[in-house]
Amino acid sequence: MWLFVVLILNSSYTASLASMLTVRRLQPNVTDIEWLKRNSLKVGCDGDSFVKNYLRNVLEFKPENIKNVSSEYSYEGEFESATISAAFLELPYEKVFIGHYCKRYSATTPTYRFGGLGFVSS
């Protein structure tokens, strides 16, 4: 009886440890825009910026999957409550964001380039 209990205990420990490590490996690290779209995960961006239209029209995210995040400091909470799976920021703001939360987030290198920031006159 005791040996049986010990056997079950021992093998379930081994099995669940192995399965935990396996699943962690299988879990995809989000680095791919196509993957986000395929799984229709929510992404965050600034609603006042042109980035929102860019995500919808050029990258073809579904409008219901694009979430307005009004402040740069709100992204942290959105990620933690799993409301968004990824955030899209322009390069300068991304640098500030990563500078602020250096270790907990990682940024992909930008593949979509814009003209840059400039001053405006009419």
Binding site: A18, S19, M20, S49, P110, L117, G118
Partner: protein
């Protein structure tokens, strides 16, 4: 934006240069480069306490309690007759503890040494069942992600 330009003559701020905007206004040379960058949470790091994760705290407590209980029962039954369980207190406790913990590793391997293949197969099946179960959990959390409703947030910082 058009409203904006009837009000102001120039903008000194973080305005991204875009073709649609350049049709209506004039931009200076870019003073900072821009591009679209995706931010994702950093990959989970495995901690040194990973080996504690398979069982919950309660499970560990119960396991410990059962071990101590068995140790006590074995000691209680054996210490009259078995000379190994005699002697000073320290020896008795030591022997009882050693017996219990060694049973975790050695006893059942002796018992099952003949059909260790069965055990390996059992372990493998158990692992795969648990793995599949955890995968399901992940996909259901994606489901809850999708069903999230949009909310409005106060605006505190804007960029164009």
């Amino acid at each position: 934006m058009l409203f904006f330009f009837k009000t102001y003559d120039a903008i000194v701020g973080d305005v991204t240069i875009l073709a649609s905007r350049a049709e209506k206004v004039e931009f200076t040379q870019p003073y900072a480069e821009s591009g679209l960058s995706m931010i994702v949470p950093a990959k989970y790091k495995e901690s040194a306490w990973m080996f504690m994760k398979p069982f919950t705290k309660e499970m560990w407590l119960v396991t410990g309690a059962v071990l101590i209980y068995t140790m006590f029962i074995v000691w209680f039954l054996e210490h009259h007759t078995n000379p190994e369980f005699n002697g000073p207190w320290k020896n008795q406790i030591g022997t009882a503890l050693w017996f219990t913990f060694s049973s975790l590793y050695f006893a059942h391997s002796k018992l099952l040494s003949r059909n260790s293949k069965t055990r390996i197969v059992y372990c493998a099946i158990h692992t795969s069942v648990l793995s599949v179960h955890q995968r399901k959990c992940i996909s259901s959390s994606f489901g809850s992600c999708i069903s999230y409703c949009m909310r409005h947030y106060n605006q505190s910082l804007t960029f164009i």
